[in-house]
Protein backbone atom coordinates (compact mmCIF):
# COMPACT_ATOMS: atom_id res chain seq x y z
CA UNK A 1 0.00 0.00 0.00
CA UNK A 2 1.35 3.43 -0.89
CA UNK A 3 1.80 6.29 1.50
CA UNK A 4 -1.58 7.82 2.31
CA UNK A 5 -3.67 4.96 0.98
CA UNK A 6 -4.10 3.50 4.47
CA UNK A 7 -5.49 6.87 5.54
CA UNK A 8 -7.92 6.94 2.68
CA UNK A 9 -9.23 3.46 3.51
CA UNK A 10 -9.44 4.38 7.22
CA UNK A 11 -11.38 7.49 6.26
CA UNK A 12 -13.80 5.50 4.11
CA UNK A 13 -14.51 3.19 7.06
CA UNK A 14 -15.21 6.18 9.34
CA UNK A 15 -17.58 7.76 6.82
CA UNK A 16 -19.37 4.44 6.26
CA UNK A 17 -19.97 4.04 10.00
CA UNK A 18 -20.88 7.70 10.58
CA UNK A 19 -21.73 9.67 7.42
CA UNK A 20 -21.74 12.97 9.37
CA UNK A 21 -18.41 12.19 11.00
CA UNK A 22 -16.65 15.21 9.50
CA UNK A 23 -19.29 17.64 10.73
CA UNK A 24 -19.21 16.17 14.23
CA UNK A 25 -15.44 15.99 14.53
CA UNK A 26 -14.93 19.43 12.98
CA UNK A 27 -17.25 21.31 15.31
CA UNK A 28 -15.75 24.75 16.02
CA UNK A 29 -12.16 23.69 15.72
CA UNK A 30 -11.25 23.98 12.07
CA UNK A 31 -8.93 26.97 12.02
CA UNK A 32 -8.38 26.88 8.27
CA UNK A 33 -8.93 25.08 5.01
CA UNK A 34 -6.35 25.55 2.25
CA UNK A 35 -7.02 24.97 -1.42
CA UNK A 36 -5.27 25.81 -4.70
CA UNK A 37 -4.13 24.00 -7.79
CA UNK A 38 -0.51 24.37 -6.69
CA UNK A 39 1.00 24.79 -3.24
CA UNK A 40 -1.80 23.55 -1.02
CA UNK A 41 0.33 20.96 0.79
CA UNK A 42 3.17 23.43 1.39
CA UNK A 43 0.84 26.26 2.43
CA UNK A 44 -0.96 23.92 4.82
CA UNK A 45 2.31 22.82 6.40
CA UNK A 46 3.55 26.40 6.76
CA UNK A 47 0.24 27.50 8.29
CA UNK A 48 -0.04 24.51 10.63
CA UNK A 49 3.51 25.20 11.87
CA UNK A 50 2.66 28.88 12.46
CA UNK A 51 -0.66 28.15 14.23
CA UNK A 52 1.14 25.89 16.72
CA UNK A 53 2.08 29.10 18.54
CA UNK A 54 -1.49 28.96 19.92
CA UNK A 55 -1.47 25.29 20.93
CA UNK A 56 -1.66 21.84 19.36
CA UNK A 57 -2.63 21.58 15.69
CA UNK A 58 -3.70 18.58 13.65
CA UNK A 59 -3.09 18.50 9.92
CA UNK A 60 -2.53 15.98 7.12
CA UNK A 61 0.91 14.48 6.83
CA UNK A 62 0.34 12.52 3.67
CA UNK A 63 -1.38 14.86 1.24
CA UNK A 64 -4.64 12.84 1.51
CA UNK A 65 -6.90 15.82 0.85
CA UNK A 66 -10.28 14.44 -0.22
CA UNK A 67 -13.21 13.52 2.04
CA UNK A 68 -11.61 10.38 3.47
CA UNK A 69 -8.26 12.02 4.17
CA UNK A 70 -9.97 14.90 5.97
CA UNK A 71 -12.10 12.50 8.05
CA UNK A 72 -9.19 10.42 9.22
CA UNK A 73 -7.10 13.51 10.03
CA UNK A 74 -9.89 14.91 12.19
CA UNK A 75 -10.21 11.52 13.91
CA UNK A 76 -6.52 11.42 14.77
CA UNK A 77 -4.62 13.19 17.53
CA UNK A 78 -5.88 15.53 20.23
CA UNK A 79 -9.68 15.94 19.84
CA UNK A 80 -9.41 19.55 21.05
CA UNK A 81 -6.52 20.52 18.77
CA UNK A 82 -7.20 23.09 16.08
CA UNK A 83 -7.29 21.69 12.57
CA UNK A 84 -5.49 23.14 9.54
CA UNK A 85 -6.54 21.11 6.51
CA UNK A 86 -5.58 21.01 2.88
CA UNK A 87 -8.50 20.22 0.58
CA UNK A 88 -8.65 19.08 -3.04
CA UNK A 89 -10.19 21.75 -5.29
CA UNK A 90 -13.11 19.59 -6.40
CA UNK A 91 -13.95 18.47 -2.84
CA UNK A 92 -13.67 21.93 -1.28
CA UNK A 93 -17.37 22.93 -1.39
CA UNK A 94 -18.56 19.79 0.42
CA UNK A 95 -15.78 19.90 3.02
CA UNK A 96 -16.24 23.64 3.52
CA UNK A 97 -19.93 23.15 4.36
CA UNK A 98 -19.16 20.28 6.71
CA UNK A 99 -16.35 22.01 8.61
CA UNK A 100 -17.37 25.70 8.81
CA UNK A 101 -13.75 26.91 9.00
CA UNK A 102 -12.63 30.20 10.49
CA UNK A 103 -10.35 30.96 7.54
CA UNK A 104 -10.15 29.62 4.02
CA UNK A 105 -7.04 30.23 1.92
CA UNK A 106 -7.51 30.26 -1.86
CA UNK A 107 -4.14 30.38 -3.59
CA UNK A 108 -4.44 29.86 -7.36
CA UNK A 109 -6.32 27.97 -10.07
CA UNK A 110 -4.82 26.56 -13.26
CA UNK A 111 -5.18 23.59 -15.56
CA UNK A 112 -4.46 20.30 -13.80
CA UNK A 113 -5.77 16.76 -14.22
CA UNK A 114 -8.32 17.89 -16.78
CA UNK A 115 -9.59 14.33 -17.16
CA UNK A 116 -10.90 14.44 -13.59
CA UNK A 117 -11.06 18.05 -12.48
CA UNK A 118 -13.09 19.66 -15.24
CA UNK A 119 -12.06 23.08 -16.31
CA UNK A 120 -10.83 26.01 -14.28
CA UNK A 121 -14.00 28.05 -14.85
CA UNK A 122 -16.14 25.24 -13.49
CA UNK A 123 -14.08 24.95 -10.29
CA UNK A 124 -14.22 28.75 -9.85
CA UNK A 125 -18.01 28.69 -10.28
CA UNK A 126 -18.41 26.01 -7.56
CA UNK A 127 -16.16 27.96 -5.21
CA UNK A 128 -18.14 31.15 -5.80
CA UNK A 129 -21.42 29.41 -4.95
CA UNK A 130 -19.80 27.92 -1.85
CA UNK A 131 -18.70 31.35 -0.57
CA UNK A 132 -21.93 33.26 -1.26
CA UNK A 133 -23.24 32.92 2.31
CA UNK A 134 -20.00 32.14 4.16
CA UNK A 135 -20.59 34.71 6.91
CA UNK A 136 -18.57 32.90 9.59
CA UNK A 137 -15.46 32.52 7.45
CA UNK A 138 -12.79 34.95 6.32
CA UNK A 139 -11.42 34.23 2.87
CA UNK A 140 -7.71 34.92 2.41
CA UNK A 141 -7.45 35.11 -1.36
CA UNK A 142 -4.78 35.81 -3.97
CA UNK A 143 -5.68 39.13 -5.61
CA UNK A 144 -3.30 38.44 -8.51
CA UNK A 145 -5.19 35.40 -9.82
CA UNK A 146 -8.35 36.51 -11.67
CA UNK A 147 -10.04 33.11 -11.25
CA UNK A 148 -9.54 33.28 -7.48
CA UNK A 149 -10.82 36.86 -7.36
CA UNK A 150 -13.87 35.93 -9.41
CA UNK A 151 -14.65 33.07 -7.01
CA UNK A 152 -14.10 35.11 -3.82
CA UNK A 153 -15.17 38.66 -4.61
CA UNK A 154 -18.79 38.36 -3.40
CA UNK A 155 -17.88 36.49 -0.21
CA UNK A 156 -18.96 38.38 2.93
CA UNK A 157 -15.42 38.58 4.40
CA UNK A 158 -12.38 38.68 2.13
CA UNK A 159 -8.80 39.76 2.64
CA UNK A 160 -6.89 40.24 -0.60
CA UNK A 161 -3.23 39.30 -0.72
CA UNK A 162 -1.06 40.22 -3.70
CA UNK A 163 0.71 36.87 -3.76
CA UNK A 164 1.66 36.93 -7.45
CA UNK A 165 0.78 34.92 -10.53
CA UNK A 166 3.42 33.74 -12.99
CA UNK A 167 1.27 31.35 -15.05
CA UNK A 168 -1.49 33.48 -16.61
CA UNK A 169 -2.65 31.23 -19.46
CA UNK A 170 -5.63 29.85 -17.54
CA UNK A 171 -7.04 33.23 -16.59
CA UNK A 172 -6.91 35.00 -19.92
CA UNK A 173 -10.65 35.46 -20.20
CA UNK A 174 -13.06 37.40 -17.98
CA UNK A 175 -15.18 34.82 -16.18
CA UNK A 176 -18.06 37.31 -16.09
CA UNK A 177 -18.34 38.29 -19.74
CA UNK A 178 -15.80 36.28 -21.76
CA UNK A 179 -13.70 39.24 -22.92
CA UNK A 180 -9.91 38.98 -22.91
CA UNK A 181 -8.50 40.47 -19.69
CA UNK A 182 -6.05 43.34 -20.08
CA UNK A 183 -2.88 43.01 -18.01
CA UNK A 184 -0.40 45.69 -17.13
CA UNK A 185 2.37 44.78 -14.69
CA UNK A 186 0.62 43.05 -11.82
CA UNK A 187 -2.77 44.65 -12.39
CA UNK A 188 -5.45 43.30 -14.65
CA UNK A 189 -8.95 44.27 -15.67
CA UNK A 190 -11.72 43.39 -18.06
CA UNK A 191 -12.03 46.09 -20.73
CA UNK A 192 -15.67 45.20 -21.32
CA UNK A 193 -17.41 44.74 -17.95
CA UNK A 194 -14.97 46.32 -15.50
CA UNK A 195 -14.12 43.19 -13.50
CA UNK A 196 -10.70 44.09 -12.09
CA UNK A 197 -7.99 43.22 -9.62
CA UNK A 198 -9.08 44.35 -6.16
CA UNK A 199 -6.79 46.58 -4.10
CA UNK A 200 -4.79 44.20 -1.95
CA UNK A 201 -4.54 44.76 1.81
CA UNK A 202 -1.38 42.66 1.91
CA UNK A 203 1.45 42.45 -0.62
CA UNK A 204 4.25 39.95 -1.12
CA UNK A 205 7.61 41.39 -2.12
CA UNK A 206 9.93 38.67 -3.35
CA UNK A 207 13.49 39.47 -4.31
CA UNK A 208 15.81 36.47 -4.61
CA UNK A 209 15.39 34.71 -1.28
CA UNK A 210 14.44 37.88 0.51
CA UNK A 211 10.76 37.96 1.17
CA UNK A 212 8.79 40.75 2.78
CA UNK A 213 5.08 40.76 3.45
CA UNK A 214 3.56 44.24 3.81
CA UNK A 215 0.19 44.90 5.38
CA UNK A 216 -2.10 47.75 6.44
CA UNK A 217 -0.62 50.59 8.49
CA UNK A 218 3.05 50.08 7.64
CA UNK A 219 3.05 46.51 8.90
CA UNK A 220 6.04 44.69 7.48
CA UNK A 221 7.27 41.17 8.13
CA UNK A 222 10.42 39.55 6.81
CA UNK A 223 10.18 35.88 5.90
CA UNK A 224 13.26 33.73 5.48
CA UNK A 225 11.79 30.46 4.35
CA UNK A 226 13.97 27.43 3.75
CA UNK A 227 11.51 26.24 1.11
CA UNK A 228 12.82 27.51 -2.24
CA UNK A 229 11.26 29.61 -4.98
CA UNK A 230 8.85 32.48 -5.48
CA UNK A 231 5.88 30.13 -5.26
CA UNK A 232 6.77 29.11 -1.70
CA UNK A 233 7.12 32.77 -0.72
CA UNK A 234 3.57 33.20 -2.03
CA UNK A 235 2.42 30.21 0.02
CA UNK A 236 4.08 31.73 3.09
CA UNK A 237 2.49 35.14 2.55
CA UNK A 238 -1.00 33.65 2.38
CA UNK A 239 -0.35 31.58 5.50
CA UNK A 240 1.02 34.59 7.37
CA UNK A 241 -2.06 36.67 6.60
CA UNK A 242 -4.29 33.78 7.71
CA UNK A 243 -2.59 33.82 11.11
CA UNK A 244 -3.29 37.56 11.37
CA UNK A 245 -6.99 36.80 10.83
CA UNK A 246 -6.75 34.25 13.64
CA UNK A 247 -5.37 36.93 15.99
CA UNK A 248 -1.89 35.40 16.15
CA UNK A 249 1.43 37.24 16.08
CA UNK A 250 2.60 37.43 12.45
CA UNK A 251 6.26 37.94 13.38
CA UNK A 252 6.12 34.72 15.37
CA UNK A 253 4.35 33.05 12.43
CA UNK A 254 7.20 34.08 10.13
CA UNK A 255 9.78 32.73 12.58
CA UNK A 256 8.01 29.40 12.87
CA UNK A 257 7.47 29.04 9.12
CA UNK A 258 11.21 29.51 8.59
CA UNK A 259 11.81 26.23 10.46
CA UNK A 260 10.05 24.15 7.77
CA UNK A 261 12.74 22.38 5.74
CA UNK A 262 10.75 20.17 3.43
CA UNK A 263 7.09 19.36 3.05
CA UNK A 264 6.04 15.73 2.58
CA UNK A 265 9.27 15.03 0.76
CA UNK A 266 9.27 18.12 -1.49
CA UNK A 267 12.88 19.35 -1.89
CA UNK A 268 14.06 16.49 0.35
CA UNK A 269 17.46 15.09 -0.60
CA UNK A 270 17.30 11.29 -0.62
CA UNK A 271 19.29 8.33 -1.80
CA UNK A 272 17.76 6.15 -4.53
CA UNK A 273 19.92 3.36 -5.94
CA UNK A 274 23.36 4.84 -6.47
CA UNK A 275 22.16 8.42 -6.89
CA UNK A 276 21.50 11.16 -4.36
CA UNK A 277 18.53 13.12 -5.65
CA UNK A 278 16.58 16.22 -4.67
CA UNK A 279 12.87 15.49 -5.01
CA UNK A 280 10.84 18.11 -6.86
CA UNK A 281 7.11 17.72 -7.36
CA UNK A 282 6.11 18.98 -10.80
CA UNK A 283 2.63 18.05 -11.87
CA UNK A 284 1.25 20.75 -14.17
CA UNK A 285 2.38 23.63 -16.42
CA UNK A 286 1.91 26.35 -13.80
CA UNK A 287 4.06 24.48 -11.28
CA UNK A 288 6.68 23.68 -13.89
CA UNK A 289 6.91 27.24 -15.13
CA UNK A 290 8.27 28.25 -11.71
CA UNK A 291 10.13 25.07 -10.85
CA UNK A 292 12.61 25.48 -13.71
CA UNK A 293 13.98 28.48 -11.80
CA UNK A 294 14.98 26.43 -8.76
CA UNK A 295 16.92 23.86 -10.82
CA UNK A 296 20.67 24.35 -11.29
CA UNK A 297 21.56 26.04 -14.59
CA UNK A 298 22.62 24.21 -17.76
CA UNK A 299 24.68 22.15 -18.48
CA UNK A 300 23.80 20.29 -15.24
CA UNK A 301 21.76 17.23 -16.27
CA UNK A 302 18.46 16.53 -14.53
CA UNK A 303 15.94 13.68 -14.31
CA UNK A 304 12.28 14.19 -15.24
CA UNK A 305 9.77 11.47 -14.36
CA UNK A 306 6.30 11.51 -15.91
CA UNK A 307 3.51 9.11 -14.94
CA UNK A 308 -0.16 9.18 -15.95
CA UNK A 309 -1.92 7.40 -13.13
CA UNK A 310 -5.22 8.82 -11.86
CA UNK A 311 -3.53 11.23 -9.43
CA UNK A 312 -1.20 12.52 -12.16
CA UNK A 313 -3.94 13.12 -14.71
CA UNK A 314 -4.43 10.42 -17.34
CA UNK A 315 -3.55 12.71 -20.24
CA UNK A 316 0.03 14.01 -20.41
CA UNK A 317 -0.82 16.51 -23.19
CA UNK A 318 -0.07 19.18 -20.56
CA UNK A 319 3.65 18.49 -21.17
CA UNK A 320 3.21 20.64 -24.29
CA UNK A 321 2.23 23.63 -22.16
CA UNK A 322 5.41 23.35 -20.06
CA UNK A 323 8.26 25.63 -21.19
CA UNK A 324 10.77 22.76 -21.47
CA UNK A 325 12.69 24.93 -23.94
CA UNK A 326 14.19 26.53 -20.82
CA UNK A 327 16.05 23.26 -20.10
CA UNK A 328 18.11 23.55 -23.31
CA UNK A 329 21.86 23.16 -23.04
CA UNK A 330 21.78 20.12 -20.79
CA UNK A 331 20.82 16.46 -21.06
CA UNK A 332 17.49 15.45 -19.54
CA UNK A 333 16.90 11.87 -18.46
CA UNK A 334 13.31 11.04 -19.45
CA UNK A 335 11.74 8.35 -17.30
CA UNK A 336 8.41 7.24 -15.81
CA UNK A 337 5.45 5.44 -17.44
CA UNK A 338 5.08 8.25 -19.98
CA UNK A 339 8.77 8.75 -20.74
CA UNK A 340 8.04 8.39 -24.45
CA UNK A 341 5.61 11.31 -24.39
CA UNK A 342 8.26 13.34 -22.61
CA UNK A 343 10.91 12.30 -25.15
CA UNK A 344 8.74 13.53 -28.04
CA UNK A 345 8.08 16.78 -26.18
CA UNK A 346 11.83 17.28 -25.54
CA UNK A 347 12.57 16.47 -29.19
CA UNK A 348 10.30 19.35 -30.18
CA UNK A 349 11.81 21.62 -27.52
CA UNK A 350 15.28 20.84 -28.90
CA UNK A 351 16.44 19.58 -25.52
CA UNK A 352 18.97 16.73 -25.55
CA UNK A 353 17.57 13.71 -23.77
CA UNK A 354 18.00 10.03 -23.07
CA UNK A 355 15.07 7.71 -22.36
CA UNK A 356 15.87 5.37 -19.48
CA UNK A 357 13.33 3.04 -17.90
CA UNK A 358 15.21 2.83 -14.57
CA UNK A 359 17.87 5.53 -14.14
CA UNK A 360 18.64 4.21 -10.63
CA UNK A 361 19.81 0.81 -11.84
CA UNK A 362 23.59 0.32 -11.35
CA UNK A 363 24.26 0.00 -15.09
CA UNK A 364 21.82 2.70 -16.27
CA UNK A 365 23.32 4.64 -19.23
CA UNK A 366 23.19 8.03 -17.50
CA UNK A 367 24.45 11.14 -19.27
CA UNK A 368 28.10 12.06 -18.73
CA UNK A 369 28.76 13.72 -15.39
CA UNK A 370 25.46 12.80 -13.75
CA UNK A 371 26.96 10.13 -11.52
CA UNK A 372 29.55 12.66 -10.29
CA UNK A 373 26.93 15.16 -9.15
CA UNK A 374 26.58 15.51 -5.40
CA UNK A 375 22.83 15.94 -5.81
CA UNK A 376 20.77 15.32 -8.94
CA UNK A 377 17.53 17.27 -9.32
CA UNK A 378 14.65 14.94 -10.06
CA UNK A 379 11.30 16.47 -11.00
CA UNK A 380 8.43 14.01 -10.86
CA UNK A 381 4.65 13.89 -11.22
CA UNK A 382 2.58 13.02 -8.17
CA UNK A 383 2.66 9.21 -8.21
CA UNK A 384 6.25 9.10 -9.47
CA UNK A 385 7.25 11.45 -6.64
CA UNK A 386 5.62 9.22 -4.03
CA UNK A 387 7.13 6.11 -5.54
CA UNK A 388 10.60 7.68 -5.23
CA UNK A 389 9.95 8.68 -1.62
CA UNK A 390 8.84 5.15 -0.74
CA UNK A 391 11.84 3.65 -2.51
CA UNK A 392 14.20 6.03 -0.70
CA UNK A 393 12.60 5.25 2.68
CA UNK A 394 12.87 1.52 2.09
CA UNK A 395 16.49 1.84 0.99
CA UNK A 396 17.34 3.99 4.03
CA UNK A 397 15.63 1.42 6.28
CA UNK A 398 17.71 -1.40 4.86
CA UNK A 399 20.92 0.52 5.50
CA UNK A 400 20.35 1.46 9.10
Amino acid sequence: MGRGEGMVIGGRVILKLAPNAIEEMARDRVAALVSATNGKTSTTRLLATAVEQAGPVISQHTGANMTSGVAVTLASGDPLAQAVLEVDEAYLPAIFRATNPRVIILGNLSRDQLDRMNEVAMVARRWRDMLADATATTVVANADDPSIVWAARHAPNVIWVAAGQVWTADSAVCLDCGALLRREGTTWQCPRCGFARPTPQWTLEYVEDHTTVRGPGDQRYDMRLQLPGRFNAANGALALVATVVMGLDPAESARRMATVESVSGRYAVVRVGELTIRLLLAKNPAGWSELVDVMPPAPTPVIVTINSNAADGRDPSWLWDVPFERLRGRVVVATGDRRRDLAVRLLHAEVDHVVIEDPYAPAAPLPPGMRDLEVVDCAATYTAFHHLRTTADRQAGQRS
Partner: protein, 233 residues
Amino acid sequence: MSDILVVSIYPTLLGTYGDGGNVLALHHRARLHGIGVEVIEVEPGQAVPESADLYVLGGGEDSAQTAAADALRTDGALIRAADSGAAVLAVCAGYQLLGEYFPDATSTATPGLGILDIRTERLPKRAVGELAATAKDPVTQILTGYENHAGGTQLGPDATPLGAVRSGIGNGNGSEGATSGHVIGTYLHGPCLARNPQLADLLLGWAVGADLNFIEEPEVTQLREERLRTVLG
Protein backbone atom coordinates in the same frame (compact mmCIF):
# COMPACT_ATOMS: atom_id res chain seq x y z
CA MET B 1 11.20 24.76 -50.59
CA SER B 2 9.13 27.88 -50.08
CA ASP B 3 8.37 29.48 -46.75
CA ILE B 4 4.91 29.28 -45.29
CA LEU B 5 2.94 31.44 -42.89
CA VAL B 6 1.17 29.63 -40.03
CA VAL B 7 -1.39 31.47 -37.92
CA SER B 8 -2.12 30.21 -34.41
CA ILE B 9 -5.64 31.40 -33.69
CA TYR B 10 -6.31 32.74 -30.17
CA PRO B 11 -3.86 30.50 -28.26
CA THR B 12 -4.92 32.02 -24.92
CA LEU B 13 -8.56 31.06 -25.58
CA LEU B 14 -7.97 27.83 -27.47
CA GLY B 15 -4.94 26.25 -25.88
CA THR B 16 -6.13 24.49 -22.77
CA TYR B 17 -5.21 20.94 -23.66
CA GLY B 18 -1.64 21.23 -24.88
CA ASP B 19 -2.80 21.95 -28.42
CA GLY B 20 -0.17 24.67 -28.74
CA GLY B 21 2.02 21.63 -29.41
CA ASN B 22 0.47 21.37 -32.88
CA VAL B 23 2.23 24.58 -33.87
CA LEU B 24 5.50 23.22 -32.46
CA ALA B 25 4.96 19.99 -34.41
CA LEU B 26 4.32 21.89 -37.65
CA HIS B 27 7.47 23.90 -37.06
CA HIS B 28 9.45 20.74 -36.34
CA ARG B 29 8.15 18.73 -39.31
CA ALA B 30 8.58 21.68 -41.66
CA ARG B 31 12.20 21.95 -40.66
CA LEU B 32 12.73 18.23 -41.37
CA HIS B 33 11.33 18.85 -44.85
CA GLY B 34 13.39 22.00 -45.39
CA ILE B 35 10.37 24.28 -45.34
CA GLY B 36 10.73 27.64 -43.63
CA VAL B 37 7.90 28.53 -41.27
CA GLU B 38 6.80 31.83 -39.85
CA VAL B 39 4.29 31.59 -37.02
CA ILE B 40 1.98 34.43 -36.03
CA GLU B 41 -0.12 34.21 -32.89
CA VAL B 42 -3.34 36.17 -33.10
CA GLU B 43 -5.46 37.11 -30.08
CA PRO B 44 -9.05 38.40 -30.04
CA GLY B 45 -9.13 42.06 -31.00
CA GLN B 46 -6.24 41.58 -33.44
CA ALA B 47 -7.02 41.06 -37.11
CA VAL B 48 -6.55 37.51 -38.42
CA PRO B 49 -4.29 37.68 -41.51
CA GLU B 50 -6.20 36.48 -44.55
CA SER B 51 -3.27 35.42 -46.68
CA ALA B 52 -1.71 32.74 -44.46
CA ASP B 53 -1.09 29.20 -45.71
CA LEU B 54 -2.15 27.32 -42.61
CA TYR B 55 -4.41 28.14 -39.63
CA VAL B 56 -4.36 26.22 -36.34
CA LEU B 57 -7.06 26.23 -33.65
CA GLY B 58 -6.97 24.23 -30.40
CA GLY B 59 -9.32 23.18 -27.64
CA GLY B 60 -10.65 25.43 -24.89
CA GLU B 61 -13.22 25.89 -22.17
CA ASP B 62 -16.89 26.55 -22.97
CA SER B 63 -16.90 30.32 -22.39
CA ALA B 64 -13.59 30.73 -24.25
CA GLN B 65 -15.02 28.74 -27.16
CA THR B 66 -18.04 31.04 -27.46
CA ALA B 67 -15.80 34.12 -27.21
CA ALA B 68 -13.51 32.72 -29.93
CA ALA B 69 -16.42 31.91 -32.25
CA ASP B 70 -17.88 35.40 -31.82
CA ALA B 71 -14.54 37.09 -32.46
CA LEU B 72 -13.77 34.95 -35.54
CA ARG B 73 -17.21 35.58 -37.04
CA THR B 74 -16.79 39.32 -36.56
CA ASP B 75 -13.28 39.20 -38.00
CA GLY B 76 -14.31 37.07 -41.01
CA ALA B 77 -10.77 36.44 -42.33
CA LEU B 78 -10.60 32.75 -41.35
CA ILE B 79 -13.86 32.05 -43.17
CA ARG B 80 -12.60 33.77 -46.33
CA ALA B 81 -9.17 32.11 -46.12
CA ALA B 82 -10.70 28.63 -45.76
CA ASP B 83 -13.03 29.41 -48.67
CA SER B 84 -10.09 30.18 -50.89
CA GLY B 85 -8.26 26.96 -50.05
CA ALA B 86 -5.98 27.69 -47.07
CA ALA B 87 -5.19 24.68 -44.86
CA VAL B 88 -6.90 24.60 -41.44
CA LEU B 89 -6.40 22.28 -38.47
CA ALA B 90 -8.97 22.65 -35.69
CA VAL B 91 -9.04 20.54 -32.54
CA CYS B 92 -11.90 19.88 -30.13
CA ALA B 93 -13.55 23.23 -29.25
CA GLY B 94 -11.85 24.66 -32.33
CA TYR B 95 -13.28 21.82 -34.45
CA GLN B 96 -16.80 22.35 -33.09
CA LEU B 97 -16.78 26.09 -33.74
CA LEU B 98 -15.94 25.57 -37.42
CA GLY B 99 -19.38 23.98 -37.82
CA GLU B 100 -22.96 25.24 -38.10
CA TYR B 101 -23.56 25.26 -34.34
CA PHE B 102 -22.20 23.93 -31.04
CA PRO B 103 -23.47 23.91 -27.42
CA ASP B 104 -22.32 26.77 -25.15
CA ALA B 105 -21.77 26.50 -21.36
CA THR B 106 -25.53 26.29 -20.81
CA SER B 107 -26.03 23.77 -23.65
CA THR B 108 -27.68 26.42 -25.85
CA ALA B 109 -26.90 25.99 -29.55
CA THR B 110 -24.41 28.71 -30.53
CA PRO B 111 -23.73 29.56 -34.17
CA GLY B 112 -20.33 28.52 -35.51
CA LEU B 113 -18.42 29.72 -38.56
CA GLY B 114 -19.98 27.37 -41.12
CA ILE B 115 -16.59 26.35 -42.52
CA LEU B 116 -17.33 22.65 -41.96
CA ASP B 117 -20.69 20.99 -42.61
CA ILE B 118 -21.02 19.67 -39.03
CA ARG B 119 -23.42 20.14 -36.10
CA THR B 120 -22.48 19.48 -32.50
CA GLU B 121 -24.79 18.72 -29.59
CA ARG B 122 -24.06 17.68 -26.03
CA LEU B 123 -23.20 14.03 -25.42
CA PRO B 124 -25.06 12.33 -22.55
CA LYS B 125 -21.67 11.63 -20.93
CA ARG B 126 -18.34 13.42 -21.34
CA ALA B 127 -15.90 11.53 -23.60
CA VAL B 128 -12.56 11.26 -21.81
CA GLY B 129 -9.78 8.86 -22.72
CA GLU B 130 -7.47 7.52 -25.41
CA LEU B 131 -8.87 7.75 -28.92
CA ALA B 132 -7.69 5.69 -31.90
CA ALA B 133 -9.13 5.82 -35.40
CA THR B 134 -8.36 4.35 -38.81
CA ALA B 135 -7.57 7.23 -41.13
CA LYS B 136 -8.27 7.45 -44.82
CA ASP B 137 -6.03 7.98 -47.82
CA PRO B 138 -3.44 9.53 -48.00
CA VAL B 139 -2.94 9.07 -44.23
CA THR B 140 -2.00 5.42 -43.67
CA GLN B 141 -1.06 5.60 -39.99
CA ILE B 142 -3.74 4.88 -37.39
CA LEU B 143 -4.68 8.16 -35.72
CA THR B 144 -3.86 8.29 -32.00
CA GLY B 145 -4.58 10.86 -29.32
CA TYR B 146 -6.55 11.72 -26.22
CA GLU B 147 -10.08 13.06 -26.22
CA ASN B 148 -11.77 15.16 -23.53
CA HIS B 149 -15.04 16.71 -24.70
CA ALA B 150 -18.78 16.70 -24.17
CA GLY B 151 -19.81 17.15 -27.81
CA GLY B 152 -21.32 14.66 -30.25
CA THR B 153 -20.81 15.79 -33.85
CA GLN B 154 -22.97 14.94 -36.86
CA LEU B 155 -21.56 15.41 -40.35
CA GLY B 156 -23.59 16.77 -43.26
CA PRO B 157 -23.07 15.75 -46.91
CA ASP B 158 -20.29 18.31 -47.51
CA ALA B 159 -17.98 16.88 -44.85
CA THR B 160 -16.18 13.53 -44.76
CA PRO B 161 -15.09 11.78 -41.55
CA LEU B 162 -11.37 12.07 -40.83
CA GLY B 163 -11.37 8.47 -39.64
CA ALA B 164 -13.31 5.50 -38.26
CA VAL B 165 -13.11 5.05 -34.50
CA ARG B 166 -11.23 1.95 -33.34
CA SER B 167 -11.26 2.87 -29.64
CA GLY B 168 -12.89 5.81 -27.88
CA ILE B 169 -15.86 8.04 -28.76
CA GLY B 170 -14.79 10.62 -31.39
CA ASN B 171 -17.86 12.15 -33.04
CA GLY B 172 -20.03 9.80 -31.01
CA ASN B 173 -21.36 7.86 -34.00
CA GLY B 174 -18.43 5.65 -34.98
CA SER B 175 -16.61 8.30 -36.94
CA GLU B 176 -13.88 10.68 -35.81
CA GLY B 177 -13.33 14.24 -36.97
CA ALA B 178 -14.29 15.77 -40.27
CA THR B 179 -12.52 17.04 -43.34
CA SER B 180 -13.49 19.03 -46.37
CA GLY B 181 -11.09 20.47 -48.92
CA HIS B 182 -8.00 21.53 -46.96
CA VAL B 183 -9.80 21.79 -43.64
CA ILE B 184 -9.34 19.14 -40.91
CA GLY B 185 -11.30 19.03 -37.67
CA THR B 186 -10.62 16.45 -34.96
CA TYR B 187 -11.14 15.58 -31.29
CA LEU B 188 -7.53 14.34 -30.99
CA HIS B 189 -5.34 16.00 -28.39
CA GLY B 190 -1.93 14.58 -27.63
CA PRO B 191 -1.09 16.92 -29.39
CA CYS B 192 -2.60 15.58 -32.58
CA LEU B 193 0.22 16.51 -34.97
CA ALA B 194 3.03 15.35 -32.67
CA ARG B 195 1.39 11.94 -32.33
CA ASN B 196 0.29 11.76 -35.98
CA PRO B 197 3.14 13.16 -38.10
CA GLN B 198 1.50 12.06 -41.37
CA LEU B 199 -1.32 14.46 -40.61
CA ALA B 200 1.23 17.23 -40.03
CA ASP B 201 2.86 16.40 -43.36
CA LEU B 202 -0.52 16.39 -45.12
CA LEU B 203 -1.24 19.91 -43.87
CA LEU B 204 2.26 21.13 -44.72
CA GLY B 205 1.93 19.55 -48.17
CA TRP B 206 -1.30 21.46 -48.76
CA ALA B 207 0.38 24.64 -47.58
CA VAL B 208 3.31 24.33 -50.00
CA GLY B 209 1.31 22.71 -52.80
CA ALA B 210 3.41 19.53 -53.03
CA ASP B 211 3.32 15.98 -51.64
CA LEU B 212 5.97 15.47 -48.96
CA ASN B 213 7.92 12.25 -48.46
CA PHE B 214 7.30 10.94 -44.99
CA ILE B 215 10.28 11.17 -42.63
CA GLU B 216 10.18 8.84 -39.64
CA GLU B 217 11.51 9.76 -36.20
CA PRO B 218 12.23 6.98 -33.68
CA GLU B 219 10.93 8.87 -30.60
CA VAL B 220 7.59 9.44 -32.29
CA THR B 221 7.33 5.90 -33.65
CA GLN B 222 8.02 4.47 -30.20
CA LEU B 223 5.38 6.69 -28.61
CA ARG B 224 2.82 5.73 -31.27
CA GLU B 225 3.51 2.03 -30.85
CA GLU B 226 3.17 2.30 -27.08
CA ARG B 227 -0.14 4.19 -27.21
CA LEU B 228 -1.68 1.99 -29.90
CA ARG B 229 -0.61 -1.16 -28.02
CA THR B 230 -2.29 0.24 -24.90
CA VAL B 231 -5.65 0.89 -26.55
CA LEU B 232 -5.80 -1.71 -29.32
CA GLY B 233 -3.82 -4.53 -27.69
